[in-house]
């Protein structure tokens, strides 16, 4: 099972330079090889541990409560128009 750093990076929406690919590829191969040692553990019938402690659903009353002020929520926006986040065109062929 060989990791392809460039391909997986694309899946993760990360653009790598050729230099980064050349550096990461052998590093990731050695990390993958290291973690594969778990393949020798007998886990037959063992339940997975999904979280840091056994969890039960944490319910609360479904009531409206104050939320963050709109101006504050938009204050860190890279670009905005009015009360909205401004983004590049997403739908192909649509008017921009």
């Amino acid at each position: 099972m060989k990791i392809d750093a460039g391909y997986v990076a694309e899946l993760a929406r990360l653009e790598l330079t050729d230099e980064e690919k050349a550096v990461f590829q052998p590093q990731l191969e050695s990390i993958v090889k290291y973690v594969e040692k778990i393949s020798s553990v007998d886990v037959e019938g063992v339940e997975p541990m999904m979280h840091g402690r056994p969890l039960v659903n944490a319910f609360r009353e479904d009531v409206v409560r104050p939320s963050m002020d709109r101006e504050e929520a938009l204050a860190n926006a890279p670009e905005r128009v009015g009360d909205e986040f401004l983004l590049p065109k997403i739908v192909e062929g649509a008017e921009s």
Binding site: E15, I31, P48, D69
Partner: protein
Amino acid sequence: MELFELGIKEAQDGLAKGEFSSRDIVESVIARYRARNGEIGAYVTFDEEGALALADANPKAVPVAVKDLINVRGQPCTCGSKILEGYVSPYDATVIRNMKAHGFIPCGRVNMDEFAMGSSTENSALGVTRNPYDLSRVPGGSSGGSAAAVGSDMCIAALGTDTGGSIRQPASFCNCVGVKPSYGRVSRYGVTAFASSLDQVGPMTKSVEDAAILLGALAGHDEMDGTTPRDPVPDYAAALEGATLKGVRLGLPKEYLEVGGLDPEVKRITDDAIAKCARAGAELVEVSLPHTEYAMAVYYIIAPAEASANLARFDGVRYGHRSAASKDVYSLYVKSRAEGFGPEVKRRIIMGTYVLSSGYYDAYYGRAQKVRTLIKRDFDDVFGRVDALLTPCAPTPAFKLGELQDPLTMYLNDLFTIPSSLAGVCAASVPAGFTAGTGLPVGVQFVCGSFEETKLLKICKAFEGVSK
């Protein structure tokens, strides 16, 4: 004695008696920061005016340095990353609210490995942090700024976070007490997520008593974090009264003590700590945690997997860096993330995406979760027979800046801290001595069961008494 040298307890006592005010402490900390931060680089930002104003509004409060991934309203929160350059927090994390309610105020923001990924603070995009005991060495990581600030008296105490050792290893390197609480003991709301099933906030302090006081302020149920149970928070500090090692059953895990690669000075100091505990009346019990050797592998599957999902939020849309070269939504994502994240974060995102991807999920992530169950069972079994484990904290003392270049070699720093993180139990690093010749601090680690912080802190307090 200068006020910046004080710990929490001494500061609280002096404030209560009216010997000085919160402003006096903050002014002293600022003077120390101005004198020392240039060479150590513990802080990344220090809003002096803001800290003084908070002190004036809370004249009995003790200032605490905050790791730069915990949100404090109106302050930057860079997480050691270029991707959050210019970000200003719109809200307080629950730990900050809790702290304020218990007579503490946030005071300055300290450096860290980017998104808490690293063991040396060298992965910060915001600059170098140096070990106050030897400026050519790292302070550890990822809470390296917190440890360096405590270790150089540039603060009274600091907040760190620990996912696989990020409080305990730097505490060991910088002669601090560092407590990683049990998973669920402290709210993670407002703390930038790295690996959500592992992350905990904890105190980094000048004494065990200080750690107990600060942990008491941080801990408790939070309706904004569903992993925090409603269990009451004990008065940890009051419980330290008369703490003793007499009759305490200390487990010595052979998998930790017989491991190859343990620095001889760390081994000597750990053996010495064990002998001191025995002389103080502790009963030593050799124990085995047979799945220890798989913990690193499990961690380096689970933590990157969770990180790759958590860091998907950095997409250049609502906050954080947006690439000027964004033409469409795809380039917005790939370029903003490529420009914003540093190499270790990229490696872990790729690793995490790989182990979660279709076809590999069962072999890596699914299997790692099952092995994690076996690791937790090792701890459950052993805590049926002993009160606590005593182990080395990190395999070496602080290493030189630039010394560890290979990522996998760097990961081995967390060999002794990762298993307890995976099990969700509580653990602490306590100063145990200094290396011969080089004079570098070394801590030992105590580990107790889930939500057994009272027991853990009492043992640490008693050890602190006999190790001095």
